[in-house]
């Protein structure tokens, strides 16, 4: 079934042919399976979606594959969402994908801590206009 899973992932996240790789070709089948298995009913959802694929799914072109998946999405909504979640989880926590994100957006490929970011001082002059308006709260006295 690995080739079917790879085809499924490539259909869900096909990349853009330039900067972003397709999820299946990027080798995320095992990671996706593991992440799906880590949540209640996740493994069952992935198995059900794979079982619903036509045998020749991996030979279809992308538009045909998307048609197949949209039918499954409509019929098996909850399971399909579980598969999407596992797929996105695998893709966006993958170190190589995070390298691409860093290169394209500046979001560093490291955990938020312990490094964090600079804590610049607050510029109080930004508040001049607000202060000039005076109080706007209701007094109860």
């Amino acid at each position: 079934m690995t080739h079917q899973l790879t085809a499924l992932l490539d259909t869900l996240l096909p990349g853009d042919g330039a900067d972003w790789p397709a999820a299946g070709a990027h080798g995320l089948a095992a990671r996706t399976t593991a992440l799906a298995s880590g949540v209640p009913n996740g493994a069952e959802a992935l198995a059900a979606v794979l079982a619903a694929l036509p045998t020749a799914f991996d030979t279809f072109a992308q538009p045909q594959r998307e048609d197949v998946l949209r039918r499954i999405e409509a019929e098996e909504s909850a399971r399909f969402v579980a598969v999407i979640t596992a797929t996105y989880n695998a893709y966006y926590t993958d170190p190589a994908i995070r390298d691409i994100i860093e290169r394209m957006t500046g979001y560093p490929n490291r955990p938020p801590q312990p490094e964090g970011y600079d804590l610049d001082p607050f510029d109080e002059s930004l508040l001049d206009a607000v202060k000039a308006r005076g109080p706007i709260w209701r007094s109860v006295d």
């Binding site: 880590g38 949540v39 998946l69 926590t93 955990p111 804590l119 709260w137």
Partner: protein, 523 residues
């Protein structure tokens, strides 16, 4: 092991630990029982590359999804909003954004001012010293002088900084002539003993390894224990024994099996859901459980063409607009709302939808991700919520949890007034974000997972015919039972409740301590 106590507090969250510290005194045995365990924030998920996965699992705000060892099921089929609570030492402040606004004076006088709900049996002025005391304990960054609120004491730390996205929002508010102010945040911008200053990392909601972001355990636990308070974690209270107007025993189960504590005072601090599990059959007031208020929240998200890298900085504690906070006849509703800035999220959370819709799978996914990640800024529309009796916490008639306690039912629908506020607020938030330069606006008209502010169900009041507790949280008709969390709120206001519920807990704890002291002096 202690089997008697002068004061037993059930729940070690924001209210329970503040109360414990305030009530503690020499020769007074104060015991806190908490179903959850300790959370070591020094090892928070934000230290790991996969930190965003924790938001779906161990740090998921919904206990029905998280299913941690201390979580009990909540039946929410009849609620438009799902529960968002955390069961641990520190309670839901383990999982919060630490936005730290106070209720306003008018929030305590809605009957007199607007003819709705009821007046509180206490005032802003009554709470002010406890607000200040709590700010000192929690550690608050911010700036005094906000024209939308009464004057307040200087904040202990300067405000957290704005980022490029929130700066353009502030400028938009200025152009519209609307109020904005840097948030009071329970996140320190300067180091203090045992706590480093915030380093602007962003995901405060998964715990703070620097202890810059306060939580009840970080702020109060050590101080309470230094005063002699005993805390027992992983200890689930299963039953209160009652004899007449007295609670005589608090029964619990821990790793050693069942046990009980005989006690003088019993103080409930387990939130409206947790309290209801134990107080069925103890409080026979028909008002108990009724009038649940939740702050229905819409989230309006702007997407910018350029790339302001909006992931930098505390996700929920940048700035707030209270331009539309107070009642105004021309609005067509009573009460108002707060607009609270929310920064952009991490890459995975962005892909999964963040505050709005999940990114589409398929051919356009990569393009959509590139168009959204780091380019978003959101505003909450945090609505005032009237106490309507149809909104309530009830107990399931047949379902029980693993301890045999009835499963609480959250029954809530968005009231007509709240819906009007939401619609007006969404329009105003959209207007502000467009003024800030948004290319595209996305609206989440109601945050389904937004049941984080559980207020009401045990309203305080001077008249025992129309309230459940008095102003100190003492349950009418009971001699030694108090409720000191946001369950006692009379009105919801339109701001996050934690500073106010903690001020109420400090005031009630102080009064109880002084009561003990007076009794002993007269013996």
């Amino acid at each position: 092991m202690t089997q008697t106590a002068d004061v037993v507090i059930i729940g070690a969250g924001a209210a329970g630990l503040a109360f414990a510290w305030a009530v503690a005194a020499p020769n007074l045995k104060v015991l806190v029982l908490e179903a959850g365990g300790f959370v070591d924030q020094r090892r928070a998920p934000s230290l790991e590359p996969d930190w965003e996965l924790a938001l779906q699992t161990t740090y998921n705000a919904n206990p029905n999804v998280r299913r941690g060892p201390a979580d009990y099921p909540v039946e929410d089929n009849d609620s438009a909003i799902r529960p968002a609570i955390f069961n641990a030492v520190g309670g839901s402040t383990i999982r919060w954004g630490a936005h730290f606004p106070r209720l306003r004076p008018s929030d305590f006088r809605r009957r007199t001012l607007d003819g709705v709900a009821a007046d509180w049996p206490l005032s802003y002025a009554d709470l002010e010293p406890y607000f200040d005391l709590n700010d000192t304990m929690m550690g608050v960054s911010g700036l005094a002088g906000d024209p939308a609120n009464p004057p307040r004491s200087p904040r202990s730390c300067p405000p957290l900084p704005l980022c490029p996205a929130t700066r353009r929002l502030a400028a938009a508010f200025d152009r519209l002539g609307w109020h904005w102010w840097p948030s009071d945040a329970a996140i320190i911008s300067r180091a203090r003993e045992g706590r480093a200053a915030c380093n602007n990392c962003g995901p405060c909601g998964v715990g703070c390894p620097r202890h810059a972001r306060a939580s009840a355990d970080v702020a109060y636990l050590a101080a309470a224990m230094a005063r002699g308070v005993e805390l027992r974690a992983n200890t689930t209270v299963t039953k209160l024994d009652r004899s007449g107007g007295h609670v005589t025993k608090v029964r619990y189960v821990d790793a050693n099996g069942p046990g009980y504590v005989s006690c003088g005072e019993v103080v409930m601090a387990g939130n409206a859901l947790g309290n209801a599990r134990l107080l069925g059959g103890i409080i026979d007031n028909p008002l108990f459980g009724k009038g649940l208020m939740l702050h229905p929240t819409a989230i309006v998200t702007a997407l910018f063409d350029d790339h302001p890298q909006s992931w930098r900085g505390a996700f929920a504690a940048a700035l707030v607009s209270q331009e539309f906070y107070e009642s105004k006849k021309t609005h067509g509703f009573t009460g108002g709302f707060q607009l609270q800035a929310l920064r952009g999220q991490g890459p995975l959370t962005t892909a999964l939808g963040g505050y709005g819709l999940r990114l589409p799978w398929g051919e356009n996914h990569a393009q959509e991700f590139a168009a959204r990640f780091g380019r978003s800024l959101s505003l909450t529309v945090t609505c005032d919520d009237l106490p309507e009796y149809v909104n309530q916490i009830a107990l399931h008639k047949t379902l029980t949890d693993r301890h045999g306690l009835a499963v609480p039912r959250m029954i809530y629908r968005v009231g007509e007034n709240s819906q009007k506020i939401l619609e007006f607020g969404i329009a105003r938030a959209s207007e502000a974000l467009r003024e800030a330069g948004a290319r595209q606006i996305a609206v989440n008209p109601l945050t389904r997972n937004g049941g984080f502010h559980l207020m009401g169900t045990a309203r305080m009041g001077a008249d025992d015919k129309v309230s459940v507790t008095d102003a100190q949280g003492r349950v009418h008709g009971m001699r030694n039972l108090s409720i000191i969390d946001a369950s006692t709120f009379v009105t919801a206001a339109a701001v996050n409740p934690t500073p106010t519920l903690q001020a109420i807990a400090l005031r009630a704890g102080t009064a109880m301590r002084e009561g003990y002291s007076a009794k002993r002096a007269t013996r």
